[in-house]
Symmetry: C2
DNA sequence: TTGTACGCGTTATCAG
DNA sequence: CTGATAACGCGTACAA
């Protein structure tokens, strides 16, 4: 017997031990007590306890066509964004009695497809996905084939074909720029990473592009951080182009903020003396650097919660509901750096 | 039909469409091509493609008794430690063709028990657990009942009843203290959070307790950060007790480091001028503060990988192997703060 | 090379 | 109130 998984006790074992049929055990398990005598119930309770019986969820799911499992696909699990989203999803799932099957795509569209397939094979009841954005038609096909609902977390697709839950970062951008303008800044440079189709960055970029001229009355100033030129050089370019003015930096996300803080350190620059800085994304360490960075805090936890909530609605109430865009407000946290 | 999950195509549909029995389809799916004619194979391939057939993993697992799913239970998914561990596990699982079912316990022993049960119900092939440490006997019972292997990630149990993969932070502590001593520090205060049974903290605490006198020739100096007194006060106590000496702080983990950095900021203190600081845990922002914090970097990613590796060994080669303690080396990263 | 028939552990239908 | 029995979708002896 060594090397084998222990024989699990099944519903039949329980039935025999209790001297009833497995039907009755099944009823007991599912709380249909109205269909059995009190003595039966008590005996079954005792036997189940003694044998340590636990129903096999695989078999149950096979029969019932639902697994009570939600698939969650994140683009980058090591991003500070992901754990918070996952916590939101996890806490909510718990409340509704669901579990999570989690996958990480490393922002790779092909991996994303693999995991979607894999999760559908596993018969998850729905998929919450922080998508790379490159599998829109694939997901549509999967949805049509399997009926598995998708909900997009934070990142949106080109067309609104799936429920989408995201931060209202457009509004936040306006608030942040107004704040900078009111505080007396004359120029604001927007620092971005490479713009992939991934849309969150692109969206913020586009909003800045539109909002900045409206508020500051001049064309938007963009600075791109990529491998071709050191971050420090790009920062110096900004300094040169805005010299002798009260200037501030706005970053497209927390990663860029971190890269710029490093670059500023290397150049011996500090906020707010040398330049203001306002970060999109508020990560814990940002309250430490230079006496605290002004930042736009994302409602990431709530995004996770809302994804689950919407998923529950779709699963239990209306499988064919119209796709809906749910936007959650950001918070502008003003600290020492502006 | 509205409101119902799409009818999935089954192995029988494929069999009928291809004009063979489902046995042959099953063989095809499982790559046993030696048992069928080339024409059969081609026809089947075509039909599967046309129908978009995907085998139902629930049914497969029910039969085969293996799900290719590893349960992962973390104590705190929002801790910076968790995503890295998860990435290690995830990347490794991917290589071996496994998926992960993830749960977050919020360091709550009762939740931990619930999730263990739930995962066993789900028939996961094994459980990797960053345990609260309070369910040792429960896990032992579960292991005996179900045969599901457990592997402890980073946190260990009192007795070595399960495989355990962890950082060799004892050795790291010695190295760090030697470094501080060699650099000329006269006193080192060790700052800890509340010591729960959770063992990682306790272990570091105990090692410091033993190592400090050996290296510095005086009794260990401990400072406890808890709700009863402000962090700032505890820091001031340290300053008072080591006045007029070259002193350094050693923290028990990254969270404490962050709290102390905040407290130092409030008191206008800086490293390394006012005191050296060496952090257990090296988180990304630590390279930014005060020109970079000296830190002990944990091999967290590799811990995740090793957990999976060991799990594969246990599942595929030796279910009853003796529990083993696997220790991975830490790295001491010397920066500006010491 | 292919197919028949049974079992995996549950739930649901129906007849007692 | 209770219990046969047939699914659920797949894998596999065993037979042909």
């Amino acid at each position: 017997m060594a090397g084998h998984k222990k024989q699990k006790v099944t519903i039949i074992d329980v039935a025999q031990a209790a001297g009833v049929s497995k039907t009755t055990i099944s009823r007991y398990i599912n709380g249909k007590f109205e269909f059995m005598s009190d003595e039966s119930r008590e005996r079954i309770a005792k036997v189940i306890d003694e044998l340590g019986y636990r129903p096999n969820n695989l078999a149950r799911s096979l029969k019932s066509k639902e697994t009570k499992v939600i698939g969650v696909i994140v683009a980058d699990i090591t991003s500070p964004f992901s754990p918070i989203l996952l916590k939101g999803i996890s806490d909510s799932c718990e409340r509704y009695g669901y579990r999570m099957l989690i996958a990480n795509t490393d922002d790779d569209a092909s991996k994303e497809r693999d995991y979607i397939l894999s999760m559908i094979d596993e018969r998850v009841d729905g998929i919450i996905i922080n998508t790379t954005g490159e599998n829109e038609e694939f997901m549509t096909k999967m949805y049509n084939d399997s009926g598995t609902p998708f909900i997009l977390a934070d990142r949106m697709a080109r067309d609104l074909v799936f429920d989408t839950v995201r931060a209202a970062d457009g509004a936040a951008m306006y608030r942040a720029l107004h704040h900078l303008h009111d505080t007396g800044y004359e120029h604001v440079g927007f620092f971005v990473e490479k713009l992939k189709s991934s849309s969150t960055r692109v969206h913020r970029y586009e909003v800045f592009h539109k909002a900045y001229p409206e508020i500051f009355g001049e064309g938007a100033l963009f600075y791109k951080l990529d491998a071709s030129v050191p971050d420090v050089s790009e920062l110096q370019r900004f300094v040169a182009e805005t010299e002798d003015s009260k200037r501030a930096i706005m970053t497209v996300n927390g990663v860029v903020t971190m890269r710029l803080m490093k670059a500023m350190w290397q150049l011996g620059l500090h906020a707010p003396e040398d330049m203001g800085i306002c970060s999109f994304d508020d990560w814990d360490w940002m309250s430490l650097v230079d006496g605290g960075l002004t930042a736009v805090a994302q409602p990431t936890y709530r995004v996770g919660c809302e994804c689950v909530k919407r998923m529950m609605y779709r699963i239990h109430h209306n499988k064919d509901a119209m796709p809906k865009m749910i936007e959650l407000p950001c918070e502008l946290i003003i600290r020492n750096s502006t």
